[in-house]
């Protein structure tokens, strides 16, 4: 593997149990800065649970999830941070976040991890613009002097609000929804709602964007637009992407690195090409017994 790639996310021995059910068992993988990392696997493999652990919605039963801002050298401090019980550490070169210890909203606010949801969660009764303004809440709260200053018209909140609107406009343009900015989000088509949710996540200025099946329910043209959007985000904004996806055309086309899960365990990890020809992966997707894998591989390559 290329040694120059900077680490951004380091998941170690992640385990999540619900009662007796093991949703994720001892999962370790890494994601690198400026890359699109895809997590794939059959239904029920535990992909969304991994996302919920990374974004703080679930507290993992065991394991460590480290996120790096800036210089990955900060990872050297990880054991100290773990033992001393910090949620995060900042050094002059970068910062280290132990996501498994942080509450969901703090993961977004401080560690700057944004996410979308498998069953889209927009603010349906609010307009597209309002949705993107809500995403800039924390920045605007500071700008409004935690409401107190802006309420009496002090502190130049107006300027910050205009900047926020500009950013929203930028993203609405980018996802092709600028003409509908003042309409309620619930009135959008399914594909447009998916794009809006990505735009909303991007408005939080994330360093890591987690997308839960962004191509689900999209037609081929919309899928290809989505690929372009994700490639654009990776290229133009220093945002790394973690992606759960079933649509293999999207995965193979845009991801730099693929992690395959089955029954909560990692069965393969590598470049798209490597994963595609991995017999374990093929077996998991086709559902064959292990001793038949060889046959399947031969069939596929034939």
């Amino acid at each position: 593997m290329n040694e120059t790639r900077d680490l951004i996310l380091d998941v170690e021995h992640l385990t999540m149990r619900f009662g007796g059910l093991v949703a994720i068992g001892d999962l370790s993988f890494q994601a690198h800065r400026g890359e699109i990392t895809a997590i794939i696997g059959p239904n029920g493999a535990g992909k969304t649970t991994v996302f919920n652990c990374i974004t703080g919605f679930y507290k993992p039963t065991e394991g460590r999830i480290a996120l790096v801002h800036g210089d990955p050298a900060v990872l050297a401090e990880i054991d100290r941070a773990t033992i001393e019980g910090h949620q995060f550490l900042r050094t002059d070169k970068g910062a280290l976040f132990l996501l498994e210890r942080m509450a969901d909203y703090r993961v977004s606010q401080y560690a700057r991890v944004a996410r979308t949801f498998q069953n889209i969660r927009l603010f349906g009764g609010m307009t597209l613009l309002e949705n993107l303004m809500v995403a800039q809440h924390n920045k605007l709260m500071v700008a409004s002097g935690y409401t107190a200053l802006a309420l009496v018209g002090l502190g130049g909140y107006g300027r910050h609000e205009r900047e926020a609107i500009d950013k929203a406009r930028y993203w609405l343009n980018r996802v092709g929804l600028i003409d509908r900015a003042d309409e309620p989000a619930a009135a959008l088509s399914y594909g447009a709602q998916r794009r809006l949710e990505i735009a909303r996540a991007m408005c939080t200025d994330p360093v890591l964007l987690c997308l839960d099946e962004p191509a689900a329910g999209l037609n081929p043209r919309e899928s290809s637009e989505l690929s372009d959007l994700l490639l654009f985000i990776r290229r133009e904004h220093q945002t790394s992407i973690l992606l759960i996806e079933h649509d293999m055309s999207v995965v193979m086309e845009i991801s730099d690195h693929v992690v395959v899960l089955d029954y909560g365990r990692k069965i393969s990890d590598g470049s798209p090409a490597a994963v595609r020809s991995d017999p374990n992966v093929i077996a998991a997707y086709l559902g064959v017994e292990e001793d038949e894998v060889e046959d399947v591989v031969q069939e596929v390559s034939a």
Binding site: D104, S108, R121, G124, M126, T127, E130, P184
Partner: protein, 460 residues
């Protein structure tokens, strides 16, 4: 086609027969329901009970039920058959929506001129008193409605114990002014802050609760406050409450007939006790406008948008870095503060308060005002407060009904009955309230109102 008609003709009776059958059923039900309870009124007589028999009333109620049902079946419900559960929420009549801009200045003007109009129309200070008093009452409920609107309408947290904050405000003012001789204007912010603290106190434990659990805990909280007020006699005066609460003064001038600080003497007008009431009206109005302006401004600030986002989807809020704890607590405490203001005004106007003023019925009334007006709509609160508080209060004046129903008929005893029926009827007619569409807090090119069908409900 012909066979279809034949089939339906054979299986379905004619509309008149169907309507008669339905009306007869409801007539019978009415007879069964009212017969024992209305027909036989128990009255204590010499250690046991005797009956007042009211069979004519029962039969007329039965006849009315029959007639109403029959007429409805033959007219309004003819096409639809039976009244079907409504699935789609109708939007506000367009006319009302477009008139909204015109309404507001008219309202403001009317609100300011109201005491003078009352005095003028009623023909003098003393006859106008009733109307001004009613105006203050309606304004107090508008104030309460706007406060609760933040909690229920914007943040979507169902609060059935809002009266607790109203009580806290009233008692804070009463106790401070009685025990420490503090003036109304000093007490007002203190009462607001203390009520807000109670809001946080209530907010913390219920943060994790949703929906109806939240509703019942807030209801219990309201009852706890009331019970403490009744039973902590040394502090609150118990069930008899607090009397002779000092009246506020007008920049140091008191509303007394004469003396160096007399309002009437200073301005060279004849003293009238109504002056104080008019003053109160403007104090309440001023407070209402302050609350309104704060609410409108807050809605356009990040905190207001966060409240609405919370109502729409709490999980999405968390994914965007919004602290649900802070957002809910600010909504609770702000709503409570406005309730505290209203309580202060109430105590000062009334001059005496008792736990009897702060029963669940008040919470229900304020919630009804907010929901009937349309969740989140400030204008809707004004409408429904006027109808529910003003309209129902005016039933007291329906003395002429005595001439129809005889002297035993006292319309005021039916006040709450009509109020209850109104609540049910308006909900069946417009479940989303009068003004159900939502106006966006920010816009790029054009402010388009959002239809009620898109907006999530207050859920908690």
């Amino acid at each position: 086609m012909a066979t279809d008609d034949a089939v339906s003709a054979r299986t379905e009776p004619s509309p008149v027969v169907a309507a008669l059958r339905d009306a007869a059923m409801w007539g019978l039900i009415t007879l069964l329901l009212t017969g024992p309870v209305v027909g036989l009124g128990t009255v204590a007589s010499s250690g046991t009970y005797g009956f007042i028999q009211r069979w004519p009333l029962v039969f007329s109620m039965t006849a009315i039920a029959f007639a109403v049902r029959f007429i409805l079946m033959m007219t309004v419900w003819r096409r639809r058959g039976a009244p079907a559960p409504r699935k789609v929420v109708a939007d506000l009549p367009k006319s009302l929506d477009s008139l909204r801009k015109l309404f507001i200045p008219v309202f403001v003007l009317l609100a300011f001129a109201y005491p003078f109009i009352s005095v003028f129309v009623a023909g003098g200070m003393t006859p106008g008193r009733y109307w001004i008093d009613l105006g203050v009452l309606v304004l107090t409920y508008i104030l309460l409605g706007w406060g609760l609107n933040i909690v229920v309408g914007l943040a979507g947290l169902l609060d059935l114990g809002y009266v607790a904050f109203y009580a806290v405000g009233a008692y804070t003012f009463a106790l401070l002014s009685m025990n420490y001789d503090l003036s109304f204007w000093v007490c007002l912010p203190i009462a607001g802050i203390i009520a807000a603290m109670f809001g946080v106190l209530l907010g913390f434990p219920v943060l994790r609760l949703r929906g109806d659990y939240l509703a019942i805990v807030t209801l219990a909280f309201g009852e706890i406050i009331r019970l403490v007020l009744i039973n902590w006699r040394e502090f609150t005066g118990g069930a008899s409450g607090i009397n002779r609460i000092p009246r506020p003064s007008f920049f140091g001038f008191e509303f007394v007939p004469s003396g160096p600080t007399s309002f009437a003497q200073f301005f060279g007008i004849t003293h009238s006790p109504v002056h104080r009431l008019i003053f109160f009206y403007y104090v309440t109005l001023l407070l209402a406008f302050v609350v309104l302006i704060i609410t409108i401004r807050l809605r356009r600030l990040p905190i207001g948008r966060a409240w609405e986002a919370l109502r729409e989807d709490e999980i999405a809020c968390r994914s965007l870095g919004i602290s649900v704890v802070n957002t809910k607590l600010t909504a609770f405490s702000l709503g409570a503060m406005f309730g505290g203001f209203a309580g202060t005004v109430f105590a000062a106007r009334q001059g005496y308060i008792s736990p009897q003023d702060f029963t669940f019925l008040t919470s229900a009334l304020v919630l009804a005002i907010v929901v009937l007006g349309g969740l989140g709509s400030n204008l809707g609160v004004v409408f429904s407060a006027a109808v529910l508080v003003g309209g129902v209060e005016m039933l007291r004046n329906l003395g002429f009904l005595k001439q129809i129903f005889g002297n035993d008929f006292d319309p005021t005893t039916y006040r709450m009955l009509i109020f209850g029926v109104l609540m049910v009827v308006i909900m069946v007619w417009r479940p989303r309230g009068l003004i159900s569409s939502r106006s966006p807090s920010v816009f790029l090119t054009e402010r388009k109102t959002v239809s009620a069908a898109m907006v999530h409900e207050g859920r908690g």
